[in-house]
Point group: C2
Chain length 427, copies 2
Amino acid sequence: MVAGNAVQTTSLGEEIVRRINLLGAISEEAGKLTRIYLSKELREAADLILGWMREAGMSAHLDAIGNVCGRYEGEGPGAPCLMLGSHYDTVRDAGKWDGPLGVITAIACVADLNRRGRRLPFAIEVVGFADEEGVRFASTLLGSRALAGTFDKSVLNTRDRDGVSMRDALITFGLDPDHIGAAARTRRELIAYLELHIEQGPVLETQNLPVGVVTAIAGATRLAARLTGMAGHAGTVPMALRRDALAGAAECIGAIEQFCRTDEGGLVGTVGYIQAKPGATNVIPGEVSFTIDMRAPIDMHRKRAVAEIVPQIEAIAERRQLVLQLDVTHENGTAPCAPWLKEQIAQAIGVEGFSVFELPSGAGHDGMAMIDIADVGMIFVRCRGGISHHPDEHVELADAEAGARVLLRVIENFRPWEGKSSPQVTG
Amino acid sequence: MVAGNAVQTTSLGEEIVRRINLLGAISEEAGKLTRIYLSKELREAADLILGWMREAGMSAHLDAIGNVCGRYEGEGPGAPCLMLGSHYDTVRDAGKWDGPLGVITAIACVADLNRRGRRLPFAIEVVGFADEEGVRFASTLLGSRALAGTFDKSVLNTRDRDGVSMRDALITFGLDPDHIGAAARTRRELIAYLELHIEQGPVLETQNLPVGVVTAIAGATRLAARLTGMAGHAGTVPMALRRDALAGAAECIGAIEQFCRTDEGGLVGTVGYIQAKPGATNVIPGEVSFTIDMRAPIDMHRKRAVAEIVPQIEAIAERRQLVLQLDVTHENGTAPCAPWLKEQIAQAIGVEGFSVFELPSGAGHDGMAMIDIADVGMIFVRCRGGISHHPDEHVELADAEAGARVLLRVIENFRPWEGKSSPQVTG
C-alpha cells in the first residue's frame, strides 16, 4: 500500500517510529510508561520535542501551561496558522502511541517541507498538549483548554494523590500559575485545528484500513463517588449489622456494568479507579471512593443514561445505610468534526491510494477543547487489536507511514477556507 | 460495681487509661492511629513499654522478633512463668485499645504486686507482641509465632506495599533476621498464657457486663485473590468485548457477601483490601487484587464455606475470561481456651462481684499461636458499641478498672496446675 516513491516513504515512517521509542522511554516508572502532567519526566519530554521542532525549522517554546509550541512561518510572516497537534502526557502504564504519534507525525511533516524549502500561504503550528489524559488532577484537557482560553482556574487548587496542588506543581515545573492566561490563542490566529491520533478501538482493523476520517468526538461524563459506611473488625461484626462501603461499591459497579451492557446505543461505562479505606485484610471498609466514566456517541443518550444510573446508585447507598457523595467532575459534549476539513482529509486519503472510511471517536481528544476557537478535523491511524492505554498498544510502521503521508498531503493541498462556514479575517 | 476499696481501684484504671492515651499518640499518620510492624513508631512504642515494665519491677528486653518482654521473678529465681500478654501493633486508622489494653493492664497488675512487695510461687512474664494484626506482611501473629517457635522463615522474603522485605525491615528496626529463633520459648518455661483484650464485638454490651470469659478463639481463613483481564481505553472498547478485572472483582465481592449473609452458622466474610490497576478514571482495569477473610465459630463450618466460595469465584473468573490467582495466605483453626484457666478466670470475676458470662472470640488473638506451647485463657473487656479497628473504639474507665481487678485477682489467686490436663515439669 505504500508503494511508489519508496525511499522518502520509508524514511518518514522510520523516523516517526524512532522518535516514538525515544519519547516512550521517558517515564517516571521503571519498566512501564507513565508520564503525568507536570512531572519532571514531562519536562524532559518537552525539551526533547522542542529540540525536534527547532530541528524541523520551527521557532519553538514551552507555553504558560506546559504545552510545547512550534511555528513554521508561511510565505509571509505573521500569517494565521493551520494548527496541528496532539498531547504528550500519558496515562499510567500507558502505550507509547496515544498522543505522541500526532505530535511526532506533525513535526515530521514540517521537517519534510523544511527540507524541501517549501513554504505555504499560511503558517503551520504544531502543539504538543501537556495534559490531555487528566490523570493527575482528575480534570482532562488542561493543555488545550488553556490554549483555547477556557481554562478553569479553580482546577489550580485541585490536589493530586500526594496532596500536591496544581498551583504548586506548576511552580515546581517552572511555570507561573498566575499567568496561564498567556497560553490562550484567539480564533483569528487559527485557520483550523487538525489532529492525527491512533484510533484506540478495533474498527479500522476490522475494515482492513490504515487510516480513517473522524466524524465526531463522543462526549463523556465523569463522576466521582464516595460511599461512607462504618469500619469494623472483620471477625466480630455479624453480616446483618455491617455497613460495608466496599460491598456497597461492588453492587454499584455491578449495576453500572449491567446498565451499559444492556444498552443498545453504544453506551460504555467504566469504573477505573477504586480505593477502600482503611484497606486492611481484617477490617471492614468504612469508606470507598471510585470514579465513573460514561460515554455514548450521542449527547442526549449519554445524559439520559447518567440520569438513570445516578438514582440506582443512590438507592443502593440508601438501602445499605451508606452516605453517598456523588459529583460530576467532567462533562464534555460531543464535538463534531467540520465537514470542510473531513472533505480535505478524505481527498488526501484517496490521493494516497486508500479507501475513505468515516468513523466516530469513542475516546476524547484535545479537539473537544479546540473546537471553541477553531474548526476541528481528525485523522485516525489503525492500532493493533484496538488496544490502547496499555503497554501492548502498537502501530505498524506502514500505518505510521500512511498516516504521515495523508497528513502531509492534507497540508500541501490545503485550501484554507474552502467550504468553511465562517471565513476568518486574515492576519 | 467497683465499690469497696475505692482508692486503689481508681488509681489502677486511671493509670491504664493514661498509658493507653500515651501509646495511642505514637502513630505514623497524623490525626489517626497507625502503628505497623517494624515501623519506627513501633520501635518508639517498644521503648515506652520497656520503660513501664522496668518501672514495675521487671527485667525487660526487646526480643529477636521485636516483642517487648518483661519478667517479674517469683519467690525463687528461674521459676516457670505465668505469661500475660497482648500485642502493641495496630491496624491502619486504628482504635487505641485493641492490643495495648492487655499489655498495659498486665504491667499495671505487676506494678501493683511490686508496690506491695508481693512475690508469688511462680514468675510473671508480660509480653507485648510486635505483630498480631498482620497489616504489613499479610501474615498475622508474627510476634507470638516467633515466641512459640513456629515462625515461618519464608515470610522473611515477603514484601510490604512499598517493596520492602520483612528481612530488610528487621535490619532497619535493629534486629537480625537470621536470629529470630532466639525469640522462641519452650513449653516447660510457661505455666499458662493469659490475655486480656477488648471484645471487639457487641455481646458484653448487650449483656450489660464489663468483662467475660472467652471460650475459644474462632478460626480464620484468609485468601489473596488476583484477577487479570485486559486494560483498555474506557471510551473505545465496547462492553461486550471487555475483560474488566474490577467488574469481575465486584461480582466476587457480591457473591462472598451474599453467601455469608444467608449462612446461619455465624459465618462472616470480608473483603477489606482492593487495588485496581492501572487505576485511572479513563482506563478499564486490567488487574485487580483483593483479600478475603472468612471466619466461623466452628472449624468445619468455616472450611466448608471456603470450599463452597472458591468455586463460585473461579466460575465468575472463567465466565469473564479473567485469569484468577487465589492463594490461602493464612489459616488458623479454632483455639479452645483451657477449662482450668476458664474456671480460675470465672472465679476471679465472681469474687470481684460481676456475673460470669462466657462467650467465643470472633477475632483472632495471639493465643492462637501461643496454644502450641501453653494452655491459653482469655478475659474480654466490654468496648463501646462493639466497635473496633476504628478510631471510635472505646473502653470506659470503669471497665478498664474492672478488667485490671479481675486479672490481678486471677494472678494473686492463681493455682498453677490445678485441673490442668498435662502438668508441667517445674524448673
